[in-house]
Every structure is written in structure tokens, then in C-alpha cells.
């Protein structure tokens, strides 16, 4: 029986501070504006992908979250690179690009290297966070897929030294791989780095300049933490893929955001990150989240992602900041919302207790829906804690406390690193290249 090669990587979730909303090319997934995100710790949120290849695999198979496998039809490299005969999907585009790199950079240079580019793949992917959490899993998912196959093909080993700018250069840099992850899901390109990551809009029709680069690693600002407020949403919102193109087609304000507002904000937030200036970082982050939802509302028909709970969280954080500006001249927290009602609140570690108490006062949680990493609650369960507010805080900014379960959960996390190589024990696939865990359904 022939050898079975394997690699497993995990990749992080990223949350944008400068939002990506609108494509200039929907096939290559080229954005109308640059964006900037913060990578969250994989200890709390990550996607893991194991990929395996062998001359013995009769077909290419994909297992997602333990569901039955999908068969993927890939054209062979020897044929045309623009696959017309077989399905041309986001996934096949990513895999084809990786195979091309394997062939050109490894197999063509070293005749003894296994001809993996000609073999089928077995790929299994899994998110360690419930889809119900309403956190976009496509970014971490496609980043993990790209990283895993890149590792399998010997293109990149994702060592943390490398991310810190030390260590040997890989055959293919993370930025080059971000071009491939982008083909799967735009924001996935930002999940190929840890810390603070910029995705440049680029201007080339080919998209080869629309890639992600790291502004600073997580170690640059370790005291910056994040609280994710998971809102119990009643209704599925417009998909971001269709929603953003409706905005491109109908919003009278989007073009001004693209040409005048975002470039200024990108410069401003990059300086803020380099200086660890939370006041500037926070204000730009909040303003850009609001502007993203403003252009969604300026769409015809309008698109809504935030609900009354989201808005109440905004009002509470703005009031918290108002009081803090009066007393200390500094912001304490910054909210941001993606294409859904969940809030991500950034703050310096020292302010997390204040924010958790404020959130719990207005949004009591079910028992066990918050892991109190800082011991903010003194061992009590979130459901037992009333929570307090700072002096001068106007408790009337929102109608009053919401019912238990209005928030489904609260996740306290940090800024994290980029894709990680994982050992065999973490692999989703066995030695035989088949899933270890039982497939559901």
C-alpha cells in the first residue's frame, strides 16, 4: 500500500476593525476597500483542518464538521487551469492554486519529490465553536484549509518564529497564501496572520496585490482583550455575500466611504496600533462599525444586522466611555459588529472586570455561559452576579435589564497568533486518511 501524507493546522477567527463590505470582482473576491482586523486567540475560537494525500485515493473528499463527505471534482493541472468541464467553486479555486504551487516550486525542481499535485486529497475540517454562536466560520475555515494543504505540500510550516519575523523564509509566504485563502472567502486572507492584519484592496485586475500583511504580532499589544457578546438572534439575516453586492449596486453613500473615508481610517488605525493608542484605536473601530451598518441601511432594500440588543450594547459602551472621558480622559471599551447582531468589545485587560459587570447587570446570563478567566465574578456563576456601574453612569441609557438568555453567552478572549501546525494526535484523519471521529447522520 502506498504512503499516505498528512498535515493538520488550525487557523484563527479574525474580527475587522475597518470593515470589508463590497467586492470589485466577485469571482476573484477583490474588495472595494482595504480592511484591517484583529486575530483572536485560537485557544477559544479556531478551525482545524487535516489534509491528506496519496496516489491511492480514488477521489478527493471533504468532511466538514463530521458531516458525510462531499466529493470534489478537480481538473488535473496538465489540463487547462480554467476548469470549465468540472465545477468551478471557491474550494476548487483554492485547491488548484495550491496544487500549482506544489508543482512549480517543489515537484518541477526536485524530480524525487512525491507528485502530490497529481493525487487526490482527503480533507476534514472542524470548528471548535458552535456555528450557533453566529461567528463567521468561513474565514477561519478557509484559512485552516489553505494552511493545512500548504503544509502538506511543503510550502509553509507556520512556525511562530516565522510570524515574529525570525526563522527561515518558507517557500511560500503567508501573504502569498493569503491570496489563495481570499479565493475561498475574502476575510479568510486575514486569518493567515496573528495579531493585527491589514488586507489591501489592491488595484490589479488579477488581484495579485490584494493580499494580507501583518501590521503587528499579538505580542505587540498583549493587554488588548476581547469580549464577545453572543446575541440570541431571532432571524437569519441577509447573507453577507448577497448583501454586500446589493450595497455596491444601490447605496448612494458607499462610494464616498470607499474613496474618502476608509483610506484615512486605515492610516489612522495603523498608527494607533503601532502606538498602542486605545483611544484612537477604539474610536475608529466604533465609527467604522457604525458606518458599515449605515451603508447596509443605505442599501435598497435596506439591510439590518444589528437588533435592539446590539443597539443597547452600543449605548451602554458609549455611556461607559462618556463617563470615563470625563474622569480619566480615556476610552475604556470599543464595540464592533460584523454581519450579525453579536458584539465584539475590545478593551485593555484592566477594564475587562468593569465591562463584564456592566454587561451582566443588563444582560443576565444562563449558568455556565461565561468562563470567568480573570476571576471577575469571584468564583460566582455569571447567573448569580448583579453587576455594578461606575459613578456617574446614566442607567437610563437603555430601557433597563433584559431577560436571562437575551445574551446566549459571553466569551472572554485575547489577541492570538496565526495558523498553527498541529501534531498527529490532533489530526482529524487517521493513518488511513479517513476521519477518526464518527460521521454524523
Amino acid at each position: 500500500m502506498s504512503t499516505i501524507y498528512q498535515a493538520t493546522t488550525s487557523a484563527p477567527v479574525n474580527i475587522a476593525c475597518i470593515k470589508y463590505w463590497g467586492k470589485r470582482d466577485t469571482t476573484l473576491i477583490l474588495p472595494t476597500n482595504s480592511s484591517l482586523s484583529v486575530t483572536l486567540s485560537q485557544n477559544d475560537l479556531s478551525s482545524t483542518t487535516s489534509s491528506s494525500t496519496s496516489p491511492s485515493f480514488p477521489t478527493t473528499l471533504l468532511w466538514l464538521n463530521n458531516l458525510p463527505p462531499e466529493q470534489i471534482d478537480l481538473p488535473s493541472l496538465s489540463s487547462s487551469t480554467s476548469p470549465s468541464a468540472v465545477a468551478d467553486t471557491r474550494l476548487t479555486r483554492c485547491l488548484l492554486q495550491l496544487k500549482k504551487l506544489r508543482k512549480e516550486l517543489v515537484e518541477d525542481k526536485d524530480p524525487s519529490a512525491p507528485k502530490m499535485s497529481e493525487w487526490n486529497l482527503h480533507i476534514a475540517s472542524y470548528n471548535n465553536f458552535p456555528t450557533a454562536a453566529g461567528l463567521a466560520s468561513s474565514a477561519s475555515g478557509f484559512a485552516a484549509l489553505t494552511a493545512s494543504v500548504a503544509a502538506l505540500y511543503g510550502l509553509n510550516t507556520f512556525s511562530s518564529e516565522q510570524e515574529q519575523g525570525q526563522g527561515n523564509d518558507p517557500l511560500v509566504s503567508a501573504s502569498q497564501l493569503s491570496l489563495i485563502a481570499r479565493l475561498g472567502s475574502g476575510s479568510a486572507c486575514r486569518s493567515l496572520f496573528g495579531g493585527f492584519v491589514s488586507w489591501s484592496a489592491g488595484s490589479l485586475p488579477s488581484g495579485t496585490d490584494s493580499l494580507a500583511t501583518q501590521i503587528a504580532p499579538a505580542s505587540h499589544w498583549p493587554t488588548l482583550h476581547a469580549l464577545i457578546c453572543i446575541v440570541n438572534a431571532q432571524k437569519k439575516a441577509t447573507s453577507s455575500t448577497s448583501g454586500m453586492q446589493r450595497t455596491v449596486q444601490t447605496s448612494a453613500l458607499l462610494q464616498h466611504r470607499i474613496t474618502d473615508v476608509v483610506p484615512r481610517r486605515m492610516e489612522g488605525i495603523i498608527d494607533a496600533i503601532k502606538d498602542r493608542d486605545f483611544d484612537a484605536f477604539g474610536r475608529i473601530t466604533m465609527d467604522d462599525s457604525n458606518q458599515f451598518h449605515a451603508v447596509a441601511l443605505d442599501t435598497s432594500p435596506p439591510i439590518f444586522y444589528m437588533n435592539d440588543v446590539s443597539r443597547s450594547i452600543i449605548l451602554l459602551i458609549e455611556e461607559l466611555n462618556r463617563v470615563s472621558l470625563l474622569t480619566s480622559r480615556h476610552l475604556v471599551a470599543a464595540y464592533t459588529f460584523d454581519a450579525g447582531p453579536n458584539a465584539v468589545i475590545y478593551a485593555e485587560e484592566k477594564h475587562i472586570p468593569t465591562i463584564v459587570n456592566l454587561v451582566l447587570r443588563y444582560f443576565p446570563l444562563e449558568p455556565g455561559t461565561f468562563e470567568d478567566k480573570l476571576g471577575v465574578l469571584g468564583g460566582k456563576d455569571a447567573s448569580q452576579v448583579g453587576g455594578g456601574v461606575p459613578d456617574g453612569f446614566d442607567q437610563g441609557v437603555v430601557p433597563g435589564a433584559f431577560g436571562v438568555g437575551t445574551l446566549k453567552g459571553l466569551i472572554h478572549t485575547r489577541i492570538g497568533d496565526g495558523p498553527r501546525m498541529l501534531g498527529k494526535e490532533k489530526s482529524l484523519l487517521g493513518e488511513d486518511g479517513m476521519p477518526k471521529s464518527k460521521v454524523v447522520g
Copy 2:
């Protein structure tokens, strides 16, 4: 005892289709962009003001909605016209301008005319709709005040012939009086006309070109009706006066709206009104309402006026229109929201039953909170009616039916005329110039 002169007028509420949001001069109340509104029928919503003057009145007094009187200190015209000694308020600015016109156009020309410009005033004003309705009463209120004093001073008699462009020209046109009403409350200038009214932003620092003109009288489009959905709001929103200036100061998108979007929409909606083209009228109205709320959201800190109920009404109307566009290629309804959660829905009379049924299906009303003028409910009370939806309507666009009382009321009204002169029997003041009805508190 000396003669007591008196006049009583009512003035209508107006709802903007192209929204006024932002001042270029906060004292003269000069807007950053032109706006356009529809005047609603005074049979349903109006403010009535009686004004009275006499050499025997020792002070100028104002009774608002039967509350105890406020004393108003007005500088005499003979002294400076820019009153520094006494309080300079929106009200005193209006009254001073009216006194100046009385002196210049009447008393200086006819020595026998009573010197009303030197006498004190008694003014009583009353809204026939509850403030609880959350409908802006400042527009109709200041329009009624201006019209009433103008009538008292013999400057304008507000005959309907005059509004139709027939009859004699008054000493002071409604447009000239709109400059005065504007000093009290910006949108009040639009309530000096019936039908479809434009308020031009103007460019002069003096503001003399920032006045209202009638695009078409109510009789031009008598089948255009309005449904006002009164939403049970939990919390008082940011006042529009402070909110709009925060937008002017902080929104990165407002300037683009002012310079590029609104001028185009003003032309488009004026053409639509002239052609009675509901499709164009409705789409522009909905888009501009959404854009107004978008720039409010783009404000730092953000401003929210719509809530989840408002948004559900939008989603229902957009779905109703989607179905109608498929079957008839026409819109059936257009929503618009001012600085609060209430919806005003415009539609042709023939579509009102469909819309009422749709609204009642999702928002059951308390008994007696809807006056069924068209007999849509077949004599039943709104609380007994289930309501239906058209074929192909996706009932899942909103989470489902809301509780009884989510909407406080539903008002079915039409387009109406401008200020009306009312007879003695309707006066709020007696022969003695004192309020007829008992003052509360």
C-alpha cells in the same frame, strides 16, 4: 374697555419624504439641504392657535395645551430689533418678525390702523393629537402660531382659493410667512402649505431664500393616502435639534448626502409628484428615509431612532413591494420614519386595505386604536381581525406576530390643505382674551 382683536387658525402636520437633517445656521435655522414633505389632513392631525391683542393687555402670555401661561418678554420695535436685553428665543424671533411686518405693511401705510405692533399678545395653542403619539408637534405648532398672528395682523387670510393659486394676493405670502415659521422650528415652514411642499436650503447668510413653496396642492393627488403606525417606544430618543448637529459635526457621510444625493432626489421626487408616479415617489421616499437613519447611525456617538418594530415594518413593506413588483410591476406602499420609531406609510387609496390587513396580522391592536374609515375591517374592531397576506408573500421576513399593543395605534389619513382660518366658535380664547377651557394644574 378697549377693543380686543382676535384670530384663530389651525395648521397641519407635515411628513418629509426628503429629510431635513442638519443646520448651516442654528439661530436662523438654515438647513444644510433642501427637503420635501407631504402635508397631512387637519381632520386627523392639527395644531390650533388663537391669538388676541389689545392695548389693555399688560403682558404677552402664552398658553400651550391648557398648561398655565408663560409670560413672554418682547422688546418693543422702536428699540433695537436684535433684542439683547430680553430673552431671545425661537418664539420671540417669530413674534418680532410678525410685528415688524404689521408695522411696515399696515400701520406705517394707514395711520388709522390699530397700532397692534405696540400691543401685547395673548396666545393659546392646542394640538388635537396626543404628544404621546410621538408625532412632531413643533412643526404644526409654529405654523399655526405664525398663521394665527399673521391673520390677527391682517397680513394673510389663508383662503383655500389662495392656495389653489386663485383669489387675491395677501399682503404677505405664505412663502414669506414660512421664513418666520422657520425661525420657530425648521420644518414648521413646510406646514404653511397643503399638498406637496418643498423647503429650499437657500444659500444667503440672511436665510431670506430658505423658504417653503408648494409643488402641488392636495387636490393634485387626492388618492394618495397615509397610514401612521404609532410604535410603543420604550425610551426617549436623542432630540433632533441636538442629534442633527452631532451628525453635522461627526458624520463622514453627511456631506456627500448634502452635495450629491439630495439635489438629485429633490428633482426626482418633484417630477414623480407632478406625474403622480407612485413607483418613483415611493422608492425615493423609502431610500431617503433609510439614508437619513444611516447618517444618524454614522454619527459619533451613533443616533438610533428606529427600533426592531420599525425595522419589521420596513421588512414587511419591502416584501409586499417585492411580491407586487413580480405580479404588477408596481410598488404598493412606501414607508418613511422621522426622528422616532413611528412609521408613516404612503399608498394609493386602493391599496390601503391590503396594507391595513398586513399590519394588523403582525401587529394586533387594542380595541378602539384604529378608526376604519374605508370599512376595511367590515365593521369589526381591529383587535378582532387576523389580517391576510398576498399570494407569494414570505411570512418569514419578520420573526412572526408581535404582541397586542406593540403598536399603540394606526391612523388612516390623507393629504391635506394648509393653514385654515377658524371661526369664533373654534377660538381657544374668549371675548376677554383669556382661555375658554380650564387650565390644568
